[in-house]
């Protein structure tokens, strides 16, 4: 089959690789019809996630048709159309039984490796380094899906790929980011990052009843999408105005009730702090650049919540812990427990409350994936989200 392989920093290639096979009795093989490039893939692409091997197949947002099932899979049949959640979860361990699927205790065969870096291991993830299992990803013609009796969700015939695809990751992720804010009437939510994840965090905060949602980014086309399509009430271009001052202005000096970091470890910034973080990251003295996170902490109102859905991999410096502690902030975070959200969000799509396809700006063929990575990385050509068709 054809598959997009990581061959080193900023070097991905579509290659011919062997077809996947059933390795465990609860596996299914899916013929992929649509697959997307995620901001998380950019962290791998840019070489910021350790434990990548040359030849790893990338991709964790995919859907398609079941072409083979293992003998223990009873709920799926060949021909079913499914969307696949990015965390791999067994459904029966202590974490899975608490709906904490991205912390499944049985799906990461390399848990020892993750335990070394992080203390304990989270779940395995498709196409996302060897720290999270060494699973082949879904930017390919076919994928092996472990625990196919737990993760994949059948998609109604009438729903096009473009509407269902993002149930694999970014819609649930944005939704979880908003849910972690415990939104109540009158709440103001600020969202750092108007990438696809930020867009869904904004849209979800609105769905969950936020009074105002403020989008923060530097790309005018992304801020425009946040306002016109996702439902942001205000936008801040951090290259033009001071984020902290503007947020205070917009909230009568209180600060937002909750702040969502939808940027992650490769935040961009201006002036000294950015140079500091970039230098340290380049010299490998700090693994992550936490500019948006620091700002989100400082901006948040007293006693508020900082919801971190942007991905961090290792260590950060100059984290304003004093602000968190002295102002009783709550930090909530996690790789999304996608399995928890797929059904309810599918229903919201069916009811017409949201059409997730609004983020798609580029549809390309799998063979054009390397170009897709480049466009998405450099935010060229008004790029918000790239979907690859096979």
């Amino acid at each position: 089959m054809r598959a997009l392989c990581w061959e080193g920093k900023r070097n991905v290639r579509v290659e011919n690789v062997p077809d996947p096979k059933i390795l465990n009795s609860r596996d299914a093989i899916v013929r992929i019809t649509s697959t997307a490039i995620c901001g998380s893939d950019l962290h791998l692409y840019n070489g910021f996630v350790p434990s990548m091997e040359k030849g790893d197949i990338l991709g964790h947002e995919f859907m398609g048709e079941v072409v083979e099932v293992g003998r223990a899979v009873k709920n799926l049949a060949v021909g079913d159309r499914v969307v696949v959640p990015f965390p791999i979860a067994c459904g029966s361990c202590a974490m899975c039984s608490r709906d904490l699927f991205s912390l499944c205790e049985n799906s990461n065969p390399n848990s020892w490796m993750a335990s070394k870096l992080w203390g304990h291991s989270p779940a395995g993830i498709f196409g996302y380094s060897h720290l999270t299992g060494g699973y082949a990803g879904g930017q390919a013609e076919y994928a092996r899906v472990p625990f196919a009796d737990v993760g994949p969700l059948k998609v109604p015939e009438s729903m096009p790929d473009d509407q269902a695809l993002f149930l694999s990751d970014i819609f649930p992720t944005g939704y979880m980011g908003a849910e972690m804010c415990d939104i109540s009437a009158g709440d103001v939510i600020a969202v750092w990052g108007a990438g696809p994840v930020g867009q869904f965090a904004i849209a979800s905060a609105k769905l969950l009843g936020a009074e105002r949602v403020i989008a923060i980014d530097r790309f005018p086309y992304r801020l425009r999408m946040a306002m016109e399509r996702a439902g942001a009430t205000d936008i801040i271009n951090y290259e033009e105005t001071s984020v902290l001052e503007t947020l205070n202005e917009l909230t009568g000096g209180r600060g937002p009730d909750a702040c969502i970091d939808a940027v992650g470890m490769e935040a961009h910034g201006h002036a000294a702090m950015n140079a500091y973080d970039r230098a340290k990251q380049a010299l490998m003295l700090e693994t992550d650049r936490p500019l948006a996170l620091r700002e989100a902490v400082l901006a948040c109102r007293n006693g508020g919540t900082v919801s971190v859905i942007g991905v961090y991999g290792g260590f950060i410096d100059k984290f304003p812990m004093g602000s968190v502690m002295n102002r009783s902030l709550t930090i909530k975070t996690g790789q999304c427990h996608v399995q928890r959200y797929m059904k309810p969000l599918l229903e919201r799509i069916q009811k017409g409350e949201i059409d997730p396809s609004f983020v798609i700006t580029h549809r390309m063929q799998l063979d054009e994936a390397p170009e897709g990575y480049d466009i998405f990385l450099n935010k060229r050509d008004g790029c918000e989200k790239v979907v690859l068709k096979t």
Partner: protein
């Protein structure tokens, strides 16, 4: 591409009650051993490798642009400081290469810590000199301290995997390993999977086979470092159903050993805590154990991997594989050209 089929490949057999130790040694079983072997050997290596890359990156910058780095960290750009930078850069690269080639990761990891101390000394000297930019030196010092934390972690991990928290050397030269895991199943299930010793090679990477001789004695074959095999007869010294099993090797053992596993109900309905303690006297005593460790046969890591697979078998019915983990050694996360055998299922597990 594959079409609609039910998988009926060789090795797709339930293993409960299936005899082992002969041609019944199916490929799925062998694969688990390889997987486990890999985990056993790889402990700490990835972290060491990542640090290796960090080291080379930093070292290269120092060697190629000693002047740039000298200025970047706020030192006065004179001949002496540039030479110092060059030396530090070469040292960084040497440890980086050492970590990457994995000749002796523990030593190299601690070498990095030593290197960090040296950097701090240089920066400390700069800090006291009044010709330097204090802010920059301060930032560089903080940076080195940051990476030093990583180095210490890697050094500790690599050392601990053989003789630290998980496994400690005893005075007589024996090795003691202690590990525990919580399994979301009642003690009865965990006890009975373990008590049927012939099941153990399914998830214990280094066991080749166990043959039960009678209700107290069993015959064990295990892989030893450097391709050797060790064999022994074990006798149960204590057996409290659903609670505890204790055993020790009889006189004929190549490697005298003993072990104990306790099944303790976890609080609040969290299932069962499985606590394992193993002791053995490796040939050559501590020196033998150290050599074994250099070849990646680290007891504490082995037991950890074994327990994780034990948990998988009990909680999901089989040992879980990824595209990379079915292979021995490093393999990219992509399907294999061969058709690996299917993981066998344990029928006592929930479906």
């Amino acid at each position: 591409m594959t079409t609609a089929t039910q998988d009926t490949r060789a090795g797709d057999a339930s293993f409960a009650g299936k005899p082992l130790g002969n041609s019944g040694r199916d490929a799925g079983w062998a694969r688990e051993r390889e997987t486990g072997h890999r985990s056993g050997r790889g402990d700490g290596e990835r972290l060491a490798r990542a640090l290796g890359l960090f080291s080379i990156g930093l070292g290269l910058a120092q060697v190629l642009t000693p002047r740039g780095v000298t200025r970047a960290v706020g030192l006065e750009d004179d001949e002496g400081n540039r030479k110092t930078m060059l030396a530090i850069g070469l040292r960084e690269m040497a440890t980086g290469v050492g970590l990457l080639t994995r000749q002796h990761p523990t030593t190299f990891a601690w070498g990095r810590v030593a290197g960090d101390v040296m950097d701090l000394a240089v920066l400390g000297r700069a800090f006291r000199s009044d010709r330097t930019d204090k802010n920059r030196v301060g930032a560089a010092t903080a940076a080195v301290l940051g990476v030093m934390v990583l180095d210490v972690i890697a050094g500790q991990k690599l050392s601990h995997s053989g003789n630290g928290v998980g496994a400690e050397r005893r005075r007589q030269g024996g090795i003691k390993v202690k590990k525990s895991i919580t399994i979301n199943q009642p003690p009865e299930k965990a006890y009975s999977l373990w008590r049927n010793f012939e099941n153990l090679p399914r998830f214990m990477a280094h066991l080749e086979s166990v043959r039960v001789m009678d209700d107290r004695r069993s015959y064990w074959k295990a892989k030893a470092p450097l391709g050797a095999t060790v064999e022994w007869t074990a006798e149960i010294t204590e057996d409290l159903p659903n609670d505890l099993i204790e055993w020790r090797s009889t006189e004929d053992a190549d490697v005298p050993n003993s072990g104990r596993v306790r099944f303790v109900p976890a609080p609040g309905g969290r299932g069962t805590e499985v606590h394992v303690e193993l002791e053995y006297d490796p040939p050559g005593g501590v020196i033998g154990a150290t050599i074994a460790k250099l070849f990646g046969e680290e007891p504490s890591q082995q037991v950890d991997g074994d327990l994780r697979r034990f948990k998988q078998v009990l909680e999901v019915g089989e040992v879980v594989h990824s595209d990379a983990s079915v292979h021995r050694g490093l393999h990219p996360a992509r399907p294999s050209a061969e058709t690996p055998p299917l993981a066998p299922r344990y029928d006592g597990a929930p479906s």
